[in-house]
Amino acid sequence: MEVHTSLTGPFPRSEALVRATRDLDRGRTDEAAVDRLYRSTGDELLGIEDRFQLAPQTGGYLTWADLFRPFAMNWSGFEVGPVTRWFETNTFYRQPILHAPPERVAGSLAPWFPAARASVPAHRAKAALPGPFTFAGMLDNRSGETPEALVHRLGRLLAGEVGELRGLGYRTFQFQEPLLVTRPPVGPAAESTIAAYRSIAEAAGDATSLVWTYFGDAQPALPLLGRLPVSAVGVDLAETEPTSLGRFPPGRGLGFGCLDPRTTLVEDPQEAAARVTAAVDLARPTEVWLGPGGPLDLLPWDAAVRKLAALPATRALLAPNGGSA
C-alpha cells in the first residue's frame, strides 16, 4: 500500500504577502512587485513542501482569491458576485453568478496553476480544482439549467481543463468537494455527480485523480463517494470517525485529512497514525493519501508550517519503509 503526503490546496499567505497585497489595494505598490513576491513565496513554500516530503507539490495557490475565482473570471457565463460566507468559517468567497450556461475559454486557466506560478514542473505539481458538485452548489445559478444538468456540464468543462492541463504535463488532479459531505447529494443529484466524474475520469486517463472532502462527516456520503471513478477519496478525520470508513468499498484509494486547519494545536502523529490505521484496517485501501483536513489557509502562515511536521511523522509511523506500508 503506497502512502503519499501532500497539501490539500491553498496555503496561507506569508506576512510579507499580506503586507504587499494590502499595499497593492492601497496603491502603495505595483502589481509587478506583488507578482515577484507571489513567485518567491510560492518557491519558498515549495522548499517547505520538499522539507516535509510533500509530493506532488502545490506552491500554495497563493494567487487564488477563492476556489472559484479563476473560473468565474475566465469562463464565459459568469459574473463575480457578492461576498459570501465560505462554509462554517470566518472566510468568504465572491459567489459566482451564472447568467448563462458556462463555457470554457481554452488556455485561460493554465496561468493559475502551480507550474506557471512557481518553480515546479507540471509533472511534480498537483492541480487542485473545484469539484463539480461543490462548484454547482456554491454558485448562484441564474442560467436556467437545472442543478443536475449544471453539475453534469461542469463535469464536462472540468474534464476539458484536465485534458488541457494533462497536455501541459500535470499528472495529479485533486477536486475540492466539501459540499459532498456537508450537503450530500441524493437521487438525481448524486447520479449527475457520478456522471460528472465519469467525464473527468475519461479526461484524466492514467493520471491520478483525487476527490477531497472536508468540513463535514463523510459517513453519510460514503456510498456515493465509493462510486466515484477516481483514484482516491479524501475524508476529514476531525469530522469523520475512522471506524465509519468500514462502509467504504475495498480496493479503492483513501485519503485522510490528519491536520485540522481550524486549530493551531499541533496534531500528535501517534494519535493521527492510530486513527488512520483504524480506518485502513477496515477499508483496506489500495493507496493512502495523507494531508490536511482542508486547505490550511484558515491558519496564519507560521502556524500552518508548524503543523506540517505531523504529516511526515505520521507517514513514517504508517509506512516505516518510506512510502510503502
Binding site: 496561507p12 499580506v18 461576498v83 460566507r85 470566518n90 485540522d260 493551531t264 489557509d297
Partner: protein
C-alpha cells in the same frame, strides 16, 4: 432629525482611517497628499481648529513631535464630524482608535496571544489570536474612547462592542480545548467553545458594558458578525449575548452580517435584552433577488423588534443612489408592515471603502431615508 421620526439613520462601525492619521500615528512626517487630505476634509467637516498651533505644527511637517494620542483624538473628531455631517442620527467615532474589531477586543483581555494574519476574503485579512490561558480582564476597556465621543458629538452615541461569540469564533481555542480530556473529538470541541464563550462574556465584556452604562452609555451595539458561521450554535450566540448583558439596562442591538438569518431562528428570539437586529442586506440585493424579502421571517416568528436595515453595500464602490436607498426602505417596510421599526444603516462598517466613497454613500443613505420619510407623507410613529 430626531429619532422620533421615521427611518432614523445610524452607522454600524468602522471607517477607513485617513492617511494623515496613519502617518501621524507612526510619527512620520506628513506627505503632501496626507496634508492635503487633512486640509480638504477639515474645510468640509471643521473637525480641528486650523489656527491651533498644534494643528499648524502637525501640518507643517512636525508630526514627529505630535503626540500619538493627540493624532488619535483628531482622528476620532474627524470621524464623529464625518458621520454627523453626513446627517446620521446616531454616531460613534468610526472606531478611529481601534486597530480592528477583533484584535482591539482581545488586546484588552488577558489569556490571548496574537499569532498572525488570516485572510477574510480577497486582500482583506485580520490578525488572529489563540486563547492560551483563562480569559481575564484587568480593567474595563474603551471607557476613555466613549467619554471622548460623548463629549464631542451632538448626536446620540452608539457604542459598538465586539460580541463574545465572535471573539471566540475568530480565535483559535487552545486553552479551553486542552482542558478537555481528549481534544480531537467533536464533543470536546463543543464543550470547549461553550466554556470559552461564557468566560469572554462574563469576565470581559459584561464588566466593560456595566462600566460604560454607569458613564451614561445608553445605546450599545453588540457586533456578532460570526453569528451565522455555525448555525447549529445559534443558542451559543444567544447564551453569550445574554451573559454579556445580564442585569444591564441599555438599548442593545445585535449586528449580524453575511449570514443566513433564517438559520439562526428561533434561537435568536431568546436574546431578550436585544431591541434591534442590525443586519446586512444590500450586498445580496440584486435586480432579480429582493434581499429584503428575508424580513418576512421576523413576521413568521412574531418578532417585533427594531430592524437596522443594511442599505449600503460596503464591499463595492458603487454609490447607491437616494432612489435605491428609498426603494430598499420601502420594500422592507412592506415586508415588516411597520415602518416605525426601521433604522437605516450600511450593511456593516465602511472601513473597506475610501473616505470619499463612504461619505457619498452615507449622504445618499440619509437622503434616501429622508425621501422615504417624505413619501410616507409626514411623520409616523417613532421607533419603539
Amino acid at each position: 432629525m430626531s429619532a422620533a421620526e421615521l427611518f432614523p439613520t445610524q452607522e454600524i462601525g468602522s471607517l477607513a482611517r485617513p492617511l494623515w492619521q496613519l502617518q501621524g500615528q507612526r510619527g512620520a512626517r506628513l506627505t503632501p497628499a496626507a496634508r492635503a487630505e487633512f486640509e480638504q476634509w477639515n474645510r468640509r467637516l471643521e473637525f480641528a481648529d486650523p489656527d491651533d498651533p498644534r494643528v499648524r505644527a502637525f501640518l507643517d511637517g512636525g508630526s514627529t513631535s505630535t503626540p500619538t494620542g493627540l493624532v488619535r483624538d483628531w482622528g476620532a473628531q474627524f470621524a464623529i464630524r464625518f458621520l454627523e455631517t453626513a446627517g446620521l442620527t446616531r454616531v460613534y467615532d468610526g472606531e478611529a482608535r481601534r486597530v480592528e474589531m477583533y484584535e482591539h477586543a482581545v488586546r484588552q483581555m488577558g489569556g490571548f496571544q496574537l499569532l498572525g494574519h488570516v485572510r477574510s476574503f480577497d486582500n482583506k485579512y485580520y490578525l488572529k489570536g489563540a486563547v492560551t490561558g483563562e480569559v481575564r480582564l484587568e480593567h474595563p476597556y474603551d471607557l476613555e474612547e466613549f467619554g471622548f465621543v460623548q463629549a464631542h458629538t451632538h448626536a446620540v452615541p452608539k457604542l459598538p462592542v465586539t460580541g463574545p461569540y465572535t471573539i471566540v469564533d475568530w480565535s483559535f481555542n487552545e486553552y479551553y480545548l486542552k482542558r478537555q480530556a481528549a481534544w480531537m473529538g467533536r464533543d470536546a470541541r463543543q464543550r470547549a467553545r461553550r466554556e470559552f464563550v461564557v468566560d469572554v462574556a462574563r469576565k470581559a465584556i459584561r464588566p466593560t458594558l456595566a462600566a460604560m452604562i454607569e458613564r451614561g452609555c445608553r445605546v450599545i451595539q453588540v457586533d456578532e458578525p460570526a453569528a451565522g458561521t455555525h448555525p447549529q450554535e445559534a443558542d451559543l450566540v444567544v447564551e453569550g449575548f445574554n451573559a454579556a448583558t445580564e442585569g444591564l439596562d441599555a438599548e442593545f442591538a445585535m449586528h449580524i452580517c453575511f449570514s443566513d438569518y433564517r438559520s439562526l431562528f428561533p434561537a435568536l428570539l431568546e436574546a431578550k435584552r436585544c431591541r434591534q437586529w442590525a443586519w446586512e442586506f444590500a450586498n445580496r440585493d440584486t435586480e432579480d433577488h429582493d434581499a429584503y424579502a428575508m424580513l418576512a421571517l421576523l413576521r413568521e416568528f412574531g418578532d417585533t423588534r427594531q430592524v437596522g436595515l443594511g442599505v449600503l453595500d460596503v464591499h463595492r464602490d458603487v454609490i447607491e443612489t437616494p432612489e435605491t436607498v428609498q426603494d430598499r426602505i420601502e420594500r422592507a417596510s412592506r415586508v415588516l408592515g411597520d415602518p416605525a421599526r426601521i433604522w437605516v444603516n450600511p450593511d456593516c462598517g465602511l472601513r473597506t471603502r475610501s473616505l470619499e466613497v463612504a461619505y457619498q454613500k452615507l449622504r445618499n443613505m440619509v437622503e434616501g431615508a429622508r425621501r422615504a420619510r417624505t413619501a410616507r407623507s409626514g411623520p409616523g410613529s417613532g421607533p419603539r
